[in-house]
């Protein structure tokens, strides 16, 4: 137990050390952080690093095995529509829980206070859910990944011309933001199980590309949201 905690702290430290040092350096040279500012930042960095180490542990211990288990069962026993539905549901639900999704909402609402945090999280979660379903569909129909991705990006770029230009960067950022450290391993674990039984091609190769597809979801959702506001 102690060893695990030690390892956790070491990982946390490694993750935040570069930023901590950079900021500390800046503080003593060009950009002082004000009264107690540096101290507050270092404590915050400690929180961040430890928090990351903790939730990564949680993902490894619980979420990944869960994803693998569910994926395997789905692969073996699920009917295709059911697999799609479950992929959609789990994708949506885990996205909402991903810490990065919360970060996205914080950042968007800080710039656009009239935007509703709940609407954003819901839209983004549905987007990811839909794309997880699409990724399973891709496995069923054996559509090559690069072609699907290409088509989806063409769609995204086309849509973005009809959206107020100021909203385009946020939308495109959403993809990278929400495919966070909790969602990504879980979805990969899930799809490994599904691909193992249902892939028409190479199951290993088929289990990649999922994150890329999931990235498209939030972008699509936000672009559509911006389109219909």
């Amino acid at each position: 137990m102690k060893r695990l905690a030690g390892q956790l702290l070491r990982e946390a430290f490694a993750t935040i050390a570069p930023i901590g040092l950079t900021v500390a350096l800046l503080h003593v040279t060009f950009i002082p952080l004000g009264e107690g500012g540096l101290e507050r930042f270092l404590v915050a960095a400690l929180f961040v690093g430890t928090g990351i180490a903790l939730f990564l542990a949680g993902v490894r211990i619980g979420l990944v095995p869960l994803g693998e288990f569910i994926g395997a069962i789905l692969g073996r026993r699920g009917s295709r529509p059911f697999i799609l539905l479950t992929g959609f549901l789990l994708g949506a639900v885990v996205t909402a829980a991903d810490p990065d999704a919360q970060v996205l909402t914080t950042m968007v609402t800080s710039i656009m206070p009239e935007a509703s945090a709940h609407v954003i999280v819901t839209a983004v979660s549905l987007g990811v859910g839909a794309l997880v379903a699409v990724s399973f569909l891709r496995v069923f129909l054996n559509i090559p990944m690069p072609i699907l991705l290409f088509g989806l990006y063409v769609l995204l770029f086309a849509l973005s011309f009809f959206v107020p230009p100021a909203l385009v960067p946020v939308a495109f950022d959403a993809g990278g933001v929400t495919t966070g450290p909790v969602l990504t391993p879980f979805i990969m674990a899930l799809s490994v199980g599904v691909a193992a039984d249902l892939s028409k091609g190479d199951p290993l190769a088929d289990s990649f590309g999922l994150v890329a597809l999931a990235c498209v979801g939030p972008v699509l959702a936000l672009l559509l949201l911006a389109l219909f506001r």
Partner: protein, 253 residues
């Protein structure tokens, strides 16, 4: 001390409402999955508890320190005497933060496995980090000059898709995956806060339009590194198959 935990109660509640649906969904699936293996229930509960605690702590740290300080630094640099410093700073920050992102190591190992050693984990990690640094610098240039995001993204993706035609089959999927993987918790919070702070400080720049876009750019970086290497490896393999050797220097006479 009090200030470090300000707002943590509400935060915890929000995170809880986010995590509960996972448990609910799992229970909903029970009729299909049948009983869970005994260890799995315990692990799931422990896992979710750790995820909850970690997320709360992480978000608290982000809110009280990372975001404000990131914005402060961005603003200070952008409104200082040499705003151009943002660009080399971005290069450094992107590189360093990418190296620190937990998921990058895992990615490197995957690629090394798939390429059967042709692409070592270390090469990939460094190449990706350099790519990220470069693209963060590009994002800073965007903040300073207002170049539209699509003007960079569309050509960028065009290049990526072009490269993916030459790379061996498994590469494109991994390459595009790696974008989502590398844009992890640190990039997305601290670095984005810096660009937003910088954009806010520049006159006539809309922070919404210019501050964002960083993540989308960083998303491209690993794809380009992996596909770049992949294309080289793919081309080399094709030449080998055709009977030419890749590094033959014909005698000069």
């Amino acid at each position: 001390m009090r200030v470090y935990f300000a707002g943590i109660g509400e935060l915890a509640l929000e995170v809880l409402t986010a995590i509960i649906p996972i448990a609910a969904a799992t229970i909903l699936l029970r009729p299909i999955t049948g009983p869970f293996p005994p260890g799995l229930v315990r692990r799931t509960v422990v896992g979710l508890a750790l995820t909850f605690a970690g997320t709360v702590l992480f978000l608290q740290g982000v809110n009280i320190g990372f975001l404000p300080v990131g914005e402060l630094i961005g603003t200070a640099l952008a409104s200082g005497p040499r705003p151009g410093l943002l660009v080399p700073f971005g290069l450094w920050l992107g590189f360093v933060v990418a190296l620190a992102e937990p998921a990058l190591k895992v990615l490197g190992e995957e690629v090394e496995a798939v390429s059967e050693g042709a692409l070592s984990a270390r090469t990939l990690t460094v190449a990706t980090a350099v790519g990220v640094g470069f693209l963060v610098a590009v994002a800073m240039v965007r903040v300073l000059t207002g170049i539209p995001l699509l003007a960079i993204l569309i050509p960028g993706y065009a290049v990526a898709f072009l490269l993916s035609r030459w790379a061996p089959p498994a590469y494109p999927a991994i390459a595009f995956d790696s974008g989502g993987v590398v844009t992890g918790p640190i990039t997305v919070t601290f670095v984005l806060a810096v660009t937003m702070g910088a954009a806010a400080a520049r006159e006539g720049r809309d922070p919404l339009a210019e501050g964002f876009g960083l993540v989308a750019l960083v998303l491209l970086a690993p794809s380009l590194s992996v596909l770049g290497f992949g294309a080289l490896i793919g081309l080399r393999e094709r030449r080998k198959k055709r009977g030419e050797e890749p590094l033959v220097h014909p005698p000069h006479r």
